[in-house]
């Protein structure tokens, strides 16, 4: 373990902003994309009249 405390972990040896910025941006992008795709799919399904779904 390289980290003595939680603060140490967040500080990343002085590179905190850059390291967490990078990992955070990737995490954000990779969370938003599946949510957008879910919304896209729901929009398609919503366009189909309920009657056709029942058949």
């Amino acid at each position: 373990m390289h980290w003595n405390s939680l603060n140490d972990f967040f500080a990343m040896g002085g590179y905190g902003l850059y390291v967490w910025g990078s990992f955070g941006a990737c995490a954000l992008g990779m969370l938003i994309e599946p949510l957008l795709l879910r919304a896209r799919r729901r929009a398609i399904v919503a366009r189909v009249p309920a009657k056709e779904l029942m058949e």
């Binding site: 373990m1 390289h2 980290w3 972990f9 990343m12 040896g13 002085g14 590179y15 902003l17 850059y18 390291v19 910025g21 990078s22 990992f23 941006a25 990737c26 992008g29 990779m30 994309e33 599946p34 795709l37 896209r40 799919r41 398609i44 399904v45 366009r47 189909v48 056709e52 779904l53 058949e55």
Partner: protein, 247 residues
């Protein structure tokens, strides 16, 4: 002649590929979460501190994975584009369109994480270096592909126009890859190469490879999710969609 083991033409039809993609998605999604968890653990708790770059080097775990994926997805997109032009199968064009947004996101993340690495290490967010510039061109190629496709109403014509653009642009991928050798760049050389043993600690290498696999599984999941949307949007009026796909 022996019958082929798998009839690939069978899956080139959207109607048969749609349910197959649906079955594959949960497996790739689970692989993404598992690999990302292991990759993050190695990135922060196992991999040692770098002698020269301190803790700042940990950016490479996402930077390298995102950069590899942005180039690899482009190659796969070009492959489907070639299939689209030569065999004129509907699914090939859909696959190419399904990959582009994920590839564009990784190209962007590669540039962003690269600039977050460049600022503390080089003292500059951006330099017009061969590696950085060719990667920026890759990002613009993705955007150009998506803009071109969305500008054409007829989906099959859009597929073909996009296919030509992506095939022309694929020349940029080896340029990115070899840029650090061909030109005198500020960007460091490849840390992992196919010919030499890697110039980094074993655990760093494992972290990078596992993160790359996580991004790989993620990209497959997203491409399959998106291609299912595209199939539905384009084939909404077909009987099979009404019968099977929208349950």
């Amino acid at each position: 002649m022996n019958a082929p083991l798998i009839n690939w033409y069978k899956f080139s039809s959207p109607a048969t590929f749609y349910p197959l993609a649906g079955k594959l998605i949960p497996w790739f999604a689970a692989a993404t979460i598992l690999l990302a968890a292991v990759g993050l653990w190695i990135s922060f708790f196992v991999a040692p501190t770098d002698a020269q770059q301190g803790e700042g080097y940990r950016i490479i775990f996402v930077h390298v994975a995102a950069s590899w994926m942005s180039m690899f997805i482009y190659c796969v997109m070009a492959f489907w584009s070639a299939m689209c032009l030569s065999f004129n199968t509907r699914l090939s064009g859909m696959m190419a369109s399904a990959l582009a947004p994920t590839g564009a996101m990784f190209a962007f993340l590669s540039l962003l994480t690269g600039s977050l690495w460049g600022k503390p290490m080089w003292g500059a967010w951006w330099v017009w270096d061969a590696r950085l510039t060719s990667q920026l061109i890759l990002f613009f190629l993705y955007l150009g592909f998506m803009a071109l496709q969305s500008a054409i109403d007829d989906p099959r014509r859009a597929d073909k126009a996009g296919a030509i653009l992506s095939l022309v642009g694929v020349i940029n991928v080896p340029i990115i890859y070899f840029s650090v050798q061909w030109w005198n760049t500020l960007h460091q050389g490849a840390s992992v190469s196919m010919t030499k043993s890697p110039s980094m600690a074993q655990t760093m290498l494992w972290g990078m490879l596992i993160m790359a696999l996580a991004f790989w599984a993620y990209s497959i999941t997203m491409a399959l999710l998106r291609v299912r949307c595209i199939i539905l949007e384009r084939e909404m009026t077909n009987e099979w969609v009404k019968k099977n796909a929208l349950e």
